[in-house]
Structure formats: C-alpha cells, structure tokens
Subunit: 204 residues, 4 copies
DNA sequence: TATGAATGAGATTTCATTCAT
DNA sequence: CATGAATGAAATCTCATTCAT
C-alpha cells in the first residue's frame, strides 16, 4: 500500500540496516522485507535478486568513488613518485574522496566491510589494484630515469594497499565527516614522508 | 584406519583445506568429514562443534603469536615512541613473528583471512587492539614529557593497524617464509621513518 | 503501441514462442508479457488466466480438427471395419487433417506436445477416445455379422491410438506440410494392410 | 525412528505415489517426506536430490529393460528386415520385456509417463532411438541386397516408434501382467504383417 | 487500455547439530 | 571410536494471480 517509491525506499533502508548488522551473506531477505512491511516477493519485484538489492545500495556511490579516482590519477610519473604535486592536490583528492565516502556512510560501510558473499566482496582489492596498475608503469619509468634508486614491486603494491586502507580504516573508525577530514591529514603526511624517505634512500 | 589420533588429524587436515577454500562460514562439515573418510558425527566426537574444529587448527599458532607479542611489548615508553631500540630488536620481533606465522601457513591464513563467521572473525582487530592498548599509555606519558610534540590517538591507532596489517598483507601475498623475511624489511623501514618524521615534527 | 488488437496479438505470438520452448507448465507469464512489451496484468485483461491464454492459441485449430474428424467419421460400420472405402476417402481425410494441422503449426505443436499442466494436457487421449468411441459400436455390429472373425476391444483401441499418433508423430518430425503429405502415405498403407490382415485372419 | 531401511523404503513408496499422481515436476518433496513421517532433510540424507529420489525408483528397472533390448538386438540384418526369425523369438522378447515392465509397475509408469521435468523426461525417445539406431544400418544393407524394394528412413523411424509405443500403451492401459501378455500378441502380429506387406511391396 | 505494486504460497536445497547405538 | 539417521530451521527464489488506479 501507499506510495510505491516509498516501498522501494523502505526496502533499501531496511536492507542497509540488515546488511550492516549481519553482513551480506547472513542477511535475511525475509527479515528485510518483513521489516519493510512487505513480503520477499516484493524484493524480487523491485530488484533482480539479493545481489541486485545490494547493487541498488552501493552501485552509485561506488561509481562516484571510481570516477574521483580516475579523474585524479592522471599526473606525471615522476611527480607521483616524488610526491612533487602540491599538497593542495593531495588534499583535494582526499577531500573529494571523503566527501563522497561520507555522503552515504552506510552504503560505503556495507560496500567496504559487509559485502562478503556478494559480487562486491573483493571491492577493496579492486580499488587497490586500480591504484597499483596506475603506479606500476610509473615506477618502471622512474627506475629508468633514476637508476640508483630502488622501487620494488612489493613495496609499491603495499603502498597502494596502505593508501586505500587509510581511507577504509578511517571510515570504519570515524563516522563523522568533518572529524574524518581532520584525521586523515596526518595519516597522509605520514605516508608522504615515509614514501619520500624510502624512495630517496641511497641504495642498500 | 581406526586409530583415533589419525582420524582427528585427518579431520584437521581436511578442515584446513575446506576452510581455506570456502572460508569458515561457507565450509561444510559434511564435506570435511567425508573427505576424511568419516561422518559428521565424528567431528562432534573429537571437537565441540564447528568453532571447536577451527580452534583446534588455529588456537595454538595464535597463542604463539600472542606470546611473542607480549614478550616483545615490554620496553620503555620513550624508547618505543622514538624507535630508539636497536634495529636488531625490530628485526628480532619481525623474524620471530614471521617464523611463527609461516610455521603453519595454512592455519595462519585461515585465522587471519578465512575466519569470518567464527569466534575468530575479529582476530585482526584484536591484535591491533593489543598493540593499541600497549601504545596508548605510552603515548600519554610521552605527551607529558614532551609537551610540544603531538601524538594523537587516532594516529596511534592507525599506526597499530598499519603494523599488524603489514604482516597480514605479507602473509597473503608471499607464501614463502624466506621471501617474506626479505620483503618485510623495507616495509618496516618505511614505517619507522614515517613515524619518526611524524613524531618529531614541530607542532602544526 | 496502444491498439488493443495488436497487444492481444503480440501477447499470443509471444506466448506461442514461450509455450513451445518451455511447455505450458514451465512457461512464464512474466516473460511472455515482457516480450510483448506489456505487463502480466495485461494478460489478465485480455484472457481469463494462463489457461485462457493457451485456449486463445489452440482452441480454434482444435475445433477445426474435431470438425474434420466428426465430418469424416460417418460411414458404414462394415465399410470401416474392412476399409472398403475408396482409398480416396482415406487420402481426403489425411489431407484435410494435415492441411489443418499445418495451418497453424506452432499452435498444433503446443496443443499436442507442450500442453502438460494445462486443461489440454490429455488432448491426444481425447482424440483417441473420439476415434475409439466411433469404432467400438461398429466393431460390435461387425462381430454380430461375422461371428467367426475376431475384433477385440483392446486391438481396436490400440488401432485408434496408432492412427492418431501417426499424425502426431508426423507433426513432430516433419515441419513442412508437403513433405508431411508424402510421408504419411506409406504409414497409412501400412496400417490398412496390417488391419486387413488382422481382421480377416482365421480365428486363432 | 525405527528401522533405517524402512525410512528409505517409506520415502520411496510415498514418492512413487506422489510422482504418479502429480508427475515429477509438480510433485512436492514436502508432501513426500511428510507422508513418510519425515522431514525434507531426510530426503537429502538418503538421496542426492529430487532427481536422485526418482533415480532410486526407476534406474534399476530401466537398466533391466535396456539390458533385455541390447541382448535381443543382435541378429542378422536380413532376418530382421524380413522378420524371418521364428515367432518364438518375438514372443520371447515381448515376454521378457513385459515381465520386466510389470515387475515394478509403478516405477515403469513413472519412468514412461510421469518423468517430465526430470533427467528421464526423454526416456521414450531414447528407447526409440535405440531401436532406430539398430535398424538404420540394417536397412542400408538390405537396400543394397534388394535394390528393387524400398525402405525409407521415415518409415523405419516410425516403425521403431510404433514398437516402443505398443509396449508403453499397453502398460498404460493394462495393469495386469498376464492380461498384458495376452493383449500384446495381436498387436505384434499386426505390426509384423503390416511391415512385411510394406517391405515386400513392389516399388511404387 | 493497461500498469505497477504486491501477495502468498510454495518450491528445492543446505546446514550444523543431536543422539541412540 | 564413530556411525547413520534425522531434525528443524532457514535460505533464496519463482509464480500465477489480484486490484486499485
């Protein structure tokens, strides 16, 4: 009964709650629809299936995140390797990312932490790969220009991992966006300094 | 065929395989016992339940890891904060940790990566907390002694997170122990340098 | 797009496809209406229900078949029993039947092969009964006139079965009408000869 | 509770009843297990799945039928084409077939009439193909030896169809084995005579 | 003329777990 | 020492059907 859009919205709201509480795999469609005052069949009217319901929640935020990353990941290899971009650039990326991540906090939490068993279960790894795929060729070029310095693949991969996880970790521990913006700063600094020290280090 | 020890061992071996392949939650006791040439009932003879079976696999390695951590986490706050311990200490801890982690590689992988749905599903967080709980009071004391410098709680927590994850990440990406020992070095260096830079930085 | 006749026709066309592919029972009204660019509700606007939709497809062809049979099944008992009708009569019936059966090939296939689960699921048996009901009294009369000869009920029934199935089998194996007309001939001959031999046989 | 074999047997008995009444596809495992005083889970303990339950009912009888057919289908092409085997041979085959078919009447009915939706849904066609595959090469050889005579493929196929269906039809209409043995005789005679007439006919 | 929302009943299947033997 | 039988609860999903609009 009532507004059709409302039913769909209620379904999504209840699904968010359930997914966050139990994780995708253990979440019960029965409970979700019951909470929404509907039957399981309704879920299959509005969405393709359980995965479709999840998609309705996370797909759009995910696409935004990917768009932001792709937009920012278009600088010079050397600059990247040496973090010679102005600090403003980092901040802008971080701010954009955090802005998007906290726009639909629950969706993001589900996407990054409670999607096991779904089509999104490897999303964090995919994000890491995105960064990794971007860094690897740059590192290769960098190695040619500065033969004395060392950039091994594992470190590069771990660096990608660390960066993505800095944001994931933040999301998990800080529900407030403004607080998050403050907290990410020193983490970013930390990573920049650690990386510079590593990359400029004399051969060993 | 009817040696009890053998049966138990077979059960554990097959469980390792299944847990690693499907994760704890999706692992099937039926398949495990069938693979072991036994029936599900046998699992309940040798272990309390599904979780008990997992415990039999991971409890001992986990305890060793905890023991190593507790043993090493007994130094002076100031030293810790400034990483003034000799490098040998770090190396010793890392080596001990890796030694233990690769002693029963499968068990560790299950514990750290495939335990979702079990009593151990938050094990990584618990390890992080362990480190965190150790660092926090130290940071407090440190803040008293060097009022100009800043150590905020979140950074500290994230640092714990990063350290634990450095090992988890390693385990996941490098199955060979000797390779692991080599790969962890620059990561550790990276973290030390980043941290020093952060901690000694003038107030901002 | 909103011509009612067109919608109805589209529904029927798509239903034919779906029924033929999956059979009545497994056919999905959702798919049918979606294929037709409509919704399930539309089916219930144009037809009573799933069975009604099927009826709209097969009822008219079925009635024609029945009419042809009823028209031809009005000859003398003796003649029938001995197949003394001119060959032309057989041929005419066969031709009429085949002409009708191939007029709407899909409808006929659905009626005779894919109607399980519907009100028509026993249609072949009903056709056989029709023939049977026609033969049985004739056989009775025949038995009175030629006491030496034998016509048992089961044989008669089986003969009806065989005749109907000759056409059903043909439909299933030969989609082309002209080919069908050629192929049915020897089959008919076969049956005539077999029957004559049986009926004229000395008592045994 | 009670004897384990009994539960399995009860499940099979109730499944037979349900399959026969509603057909495989519409049969309800819930009802079957409830009728047997068990739960659906029990079905999955004793059998792989719904198809497995059906297999437990029909597989063995089917294998026997196939064995009988394969054993008898090993005679000379010419003889076959001309039905020159002694009548005793036909009778023996028919008797063997009927003996087997009526040994587990219900299983056979399910296999031949109520298996739609299962792995056995095309069993009749497969039996026909078996016969057909056996006849076709013989017909080819026969055509070489007696160029004047005609054996077209369609007739051959239809003949296979007819023979198999003679037995299927019988099963459907005569539940008593002894009656069946009597009734099949004239049908067999009919087919022999019809075929001889067809095959020996001058070219037309 | 049709839609779109929703139901409600049912389907098969999977699983950890129990317990008498 | 271990089996084998069985439970019971829950899971996702599919469907024909209804009806207000």
């Amino acid at each position: 009964m009532s507004n059709p859009n409302e039913s769909r919205a209620r379904l999504i709201a209840c699904a968010k709650k359930e997914f966050k509480e139990k994780g995708f795999a253990k979440a019960s469609l029965r409970k979700i629809s019951a909470d929404a005052g509907l039957t399981t069949g309704a879920v299959y009217f509005f969405f393709q299936d359980k995965n479709g319901l999840l998609s309705a929640i996370v797909e759009e935020p995910l696409e935004c995140i990917l768009a932001i990353l792709r937009t920012h990941l278009t600088v010079e290899p050397e600059a990247v390797m040496q973090y010679e971009q102005q600090d403003g650039d980092h901040d802008a990326l971080a701010a954009a990312l955090i802005g998007e991540m906290y726009r639909d906090y629950d969706a993001m939490m589900i996407l990054l932490h409670h999607a096991q068993g779904s089509a999104y279960e490897n999303i964090v790894d995919r994000l890491i790969s995105l960064l990794d795929d971007y860094y690897q060729p740059m590192a290769a070029q960098y190695a040619v220009r500065f033969p004395g310095r060392h950039v091994n693949q594992y470190m590069l991969h771990w660096f990608s991992h660390m960066q993505i996880n800095a944001f994931v970790h933040l999301l998990e521990h800080e529900p407030d966006k403004d607080q998050a913006l403050k907290k990410i700063k020193p983490v970013l600094d930390f990573m920049v300094k650690g990386w510079m020290a590593y990359i400029l280090e004399d051969d060993l």
